[in-house]
Symmetry: C2
Subunit: 358 residues, 2 copies
């Protein structure tokens, strides 16, 4: 009577399982999962924030080196990082999930468990979404809503000439992790540490709130596409230039070790590798040291001074450790799959990550 | 110096084009495209609504029978329909777009032009998103935000025993269109009309607002997965059963003609075919006729009475034209790709549509 194969997800059953686990309403919610849209009361005196970030199998991850649960966790984290970059507090997520027909329901639920677990760690919850068959690879897109008091909104625009450029944490680890993920035979004891940077980035929400409440930050964004690309975005939005000192770019010991094993320059990983999800921001020189100390004291996260904001006509400049100052290449574009040699993962060609906000 | 091929999209250029065209802020907007998240002031006295619907190449469309612009239009329309189903007014859309590396930038912009054009027709605009490389087919996911006065919120729950079941417009046209799209050699002069039903569904926002303001509607949703599946959802949410009279299901002449050319039963297309995006709702018998007349007078859209709400223990029942009353099959699941024979489009196997809200 029942011709269905034992393997492969079935829509109604999967949706019933999703509702059973994640239907609980939170503060302000009027409707969550299960109707044509979610409905909630907005919070008085707050701006609404919405961000949207997608990850695709074969582009952002490969199941050769990560699990569905890790994919879900990361899909939440990258969006949480975007809300952090506005100074916001996350509330509700909407998840669009495309699954090949043979996907096990267990795997889909694991992805959502990773996602909702990461949301819950930061006070947010699943409020809606769409689950669809894919004719190709897996796909997950998350739209995350949150709030911020209007006076604490952090934007990319607003950097001023003479400002100091700062960054939280350390850079290049995720890029080292991605390079090692693609080369499973490279042996280094840094593998675990840099893979964690790739798979479980820590959204800097607490750090961002300290910065937002200080009222001292002029411009801020999260470093998702590498320091060079994101600094350029900040400078374009603020209509300024900037100078970065290479020897001040914070690199973790594991990143240096992984880069050595890979035969790569760790600085290049930090400058052009993506997915570190640290906060890049500017403040006046009078306040920079106090801000950095405040973030460290309240969150345990170190903050480094990288350089300074210049007039727009100076463009982007990099000071090498030997003192040479160079202009960064015009038209430089991170992650363009047609400019870098594609890598092989498990016999399949994996496009380089090519992602950004419109 | 420049090794880039002439074909294929490039991230920075595409994003610059998107911002140039669609960055204008609307009422209440604080930030739109170009920062880590959009920011806006919520509207006093209104509930926020958020819905999310995705379409995939090879599942929901094939470029053999539609253009990027039509895909964009439809991606907007299906989400607008979900907001209509809450009684809401759409405001801002966030679009996640996955593009194979060889995609022409022109095609991506055409998709977004179709999408933003359809949004603009209904008072909404693009406010953010993400553009990413795909290692497989195209993918587009839209998250749409809107508002509704709390007292006018329409939900799936609330149908009462004795209510009349009504539907706007006509059913089965989109399913006939999909069947004809997959069989380009079938000749019928209904092809154009049913393809339009498939590609350019009309979100019933005006009709829904008439219904929401009346205060007379007990339960409502949009028919995205076929009458049978969506009636079941309404009944499950309301904990009731229902009886539908087959001879009252509204079928357009073009749908009958297309079904004839395909050798299919037009009623089956209406019951189990999806994507009609009409509104299915219930009201007490005392108000049903006046509601139907009101919608017709204010919007030009006819409304049909299909049947009545029964106690939950009666389940779903269908009265055939000859008077036979049958219980609809238990466990019936629309669009399960493993229960229907896959169709061939341009030599590629196209999974049947398998989509629903969690």
């Amino acid at each position: 009577m029942n011709p269905r194969p034992a393997r492969g997800w079935r829509e109604f059953r999967l949706l019933a399982d999703i509702r059973r686990r994640w239907s609980r309403l939170g503060p302000g919610d009027r409707l969550g999962l299960g109707d044509d849209a979610a409905a909630y009361r907005p919070e008085p005196g707050q701006l609404e924030l919405v961000t949207c970030d997608a990850l695709g199998e074969g582009v952002h991850w490969d199941f050769a080196w990560c699990t569905p649960r890790e994919v879900g966790r990361k899909a939440a984290a990258v969006n949480l990082s975007d809300l952090a970059a506005m100074g916001g507090s996350p509330r509700r997520a909407y998840v669009s999930l495309a699954l090949p027909p043979r996907t096990r329901e267990r795997a889909a639920l694991d992805l959502l468990a990773g996602l909702t677990g990461e949301l819950a760690r930061h006070g947010a919850r699943l409020a809606g979404g769409d689950t669809v068959a894919s004719s190709g690879p897996w796909w997950v897109s998350v739209t995350l809503q949150g709030v911020v008091p209007a006076a604490q909104l952090l934007t990319r625009a607003g950097a001023r000439v003479g400002d100091v450029v700062l960054v939280t944490g350390q850079l290049g680890g995720a890029a080292a992790g991605l390079a090692l993920a693609a080369r499973p035979r490279v042996r280094t004891r840094a593998r675990g540490a840099v893979l964690r940077r790739l798979l479980a980035p820590e959204p800097r929400l607490a750090e961002a709130r300290v910065l937002a409440r200080s009222g001292r930050v002029h411009a801020l964004l999260d470093v998702s596409d590498g320091l060079a690309g994101d600094l350029r975005r900040l400078c374009e939005a603020s209509r300024v230039g900037a100078r970065i000192h290479a020897d001040r770019v914070p690199l973790a010991p594991a990143t240096r070790r992984a880069a050595h094993a890979l035969g790569q320059d760790p600085l290049a990983l930090a400058l052009s590798g993506g997915e570190d999800y640290e906060l890049l921001f500017t403040a006046s020189p009078a306040h920079a040291a106090a801000l950095a100390a405040d973030v460290l004291r309240r969150t345990g996260t170190p903050v480094s001074v990288l350089g300074e904001i210049l007039p727009a006509r100076r463009g982007l400049r990099l000071v090498h450790p030997d003192g040479r100052e160079v202009s960064w290449p015009q038209g430089w574009e991170h992650g363009d799959s047609r400019r870098e040699s594609p890598e092989q993962v498990k016999g399949e060609q994996v496009s380089r990550r090519v992602t950004a906000k419109p």
